[in-house]
């Protein structure tokens, strides 16, 4: 695990220094940069899952992973721009309500999926997809 994290860190350092080559000032790997890059990865992982998996519960979870990436990015930017009065409260408020709304949306999506399942007997949209 430590080895992995060292690898991850060096990748982040590499990315940061690659960016530093383009910009004049020396790059610093700060924790908010780590979270911003992670947010991008989470979003894309969720997107990948959303496209490749057919199971509706997987789709709900993938969407939530994507949403987690978006929220993480918003809050990381607020953390980066924190002044002496603390981080920007507006993204915090947006994320807070966003998380609760995402829960409600997921619950509705799961309810629809269960309804689909009770009608077609399959937890996916394309019928016959699970015959393989």
């Amino acid at each position: 695990m430590t080895l992995l994290s060292c690898g991850y860190m060096s990748v982040c350092f590499g990315v940061a220094s690659a960016a530093g080559a383009a910009t004049p000032e020396t790059p610093v790997l700060t924790s908010h940069l780590v979270y911003m890059l992670t947010a991008c990865l989470l979003f894309c992982i969720g997107l990948f899952g959303l496209i490749t998996r057919g199971h509706l519960m997987r789709n709900v979870m993938s969407l939530n992973v994507m949403g987690g990436g978006v929220f993480l990015f918003l809050v990381a930017v607020a953390r980066r721009d924190a002044g002496e009065s603390g981080p920007d409260p507006v993204p915090h408020a947006m994320t807070l309500t966003g998380i609760v709304v995402a829960l409600a949306a997921s619950a509705f999506a799961l309810a629809l999926a269960r309804r689909i399942h009770s009608i077609t007997g399959e937890m996916r949209l394309e019928p016959g997809d699970d015959n393989s």
Binding site: A19, F43, I51, P89, V90, L103, A104, S118, G121
Partner: protein
């Protein structure tokens, strides 16, 4: 012949799936690289409204910036978000065909350990929720956190088979669900009638108004979360499922 066809079809589907995974993977990877590049190119410096939010905090009636954003600066947003929660519950009720929760499937057999844990945790969760709500005035906390904690308590009651919201009748449930949205509505109308902008809270009374709206919003959010867990459609229509299972058995 048919078996050969089926194998062929399955093989084709597998191949298509592999193509889909490769294309999606390549697309997601490309998007990730683009996003990383965009993050590294982000403009420097404060982009947000931190200073503006802090400058006006004294007039908002609360001392915590996030609560001020939620219930004063941008209370219109919060109002509509409470409305979204209400819509989600209404949609689930529409799927179930009614707001009555009496016919949710029988809760699992009561387990002594679970009962004991529920007895221990429910008062603590309720207390925590109340504390969080009150804390929102000057520290991290507020309507959403308190509502979610209380909603989790409701979900726990449901899981342990203790009667709770499913026994109070659908009119009461509807009132509890709508009360948060209505609180914002009353505040909006009252501020308009008082000659102010919509939801522009007068600095002197903002704290009281916010606490009132927040309390009612907490009740609605908590009920919403609990009802979302309780009202999942499914097992209460066993005949249809049974018929379909038979059909599925016959097909396979």
């Amino acid at each position: 012949m048919t078996r050969h066809d089926a194998t062929l079809r399955r093989r084709r589907r597998r191949a298509l799936l592999r193509v889909r995974i490769v294309v999606a993977g390549a697309g997601a990877l490309a998007l990730a690289l683009l996003l990383v590049a965009a993050v590294l190119e982000l403009p420097e410096g404060p982009l947000g409204l931190a200073e503006e939010a802090a400058a006006q905090l004294a007039h908002t009636g609360v001392d915590h910036a996030v609560t001020a954003v939620l219930l004063n600066y941008r209370s219109y947003d919060t109002w509509l978000e409470v409305g979204v929660l209400l819509l989600a519950v209404m949609a689930i009720f529409a799927l179930r065909g009614g707001a009555h929760l009496e016919n949710v499937r029988p809760a699992p057999r009561r387990d002594p350990l679970l009962t004991w844990l529920t007895r221990l945790l429910i008062p603590m969760l309720t207390l925590t929720a109340g504390y969080l709500l009150w804390l929102g005035k000057f520290a991290p906390g507020g309507a959403f956190q308190a509502g979610v904690v209380l909603g989790a308590a409701g979900a726990m009651l449901r899981l342990s088979g203790t009667p709770s919201l499913d026994r109070i009748g659908d009119v009461a449930i509807r009132i509890l669900l709508a009360v948060g949205f209505l609180a914002f509505l009353v505040a909006a109308v009252a501020t308009r009638l008082a000659g102010l902008d919509m939801l522009e809270l007068p600095p002197g009374r903002a704290g009281d108004i916010i606490l009132m709206v927040e309390t009612l919003a907490t009740i609605s959010i908590a009920t919403t979360c609990a009802v979302l867990v309780m009202a999942m459609p499914g097992a209460e229509s066993p005949p249809a499922i049974a018929a379909k299972d038979v059909r599925k058995e016959a097909r396979t």
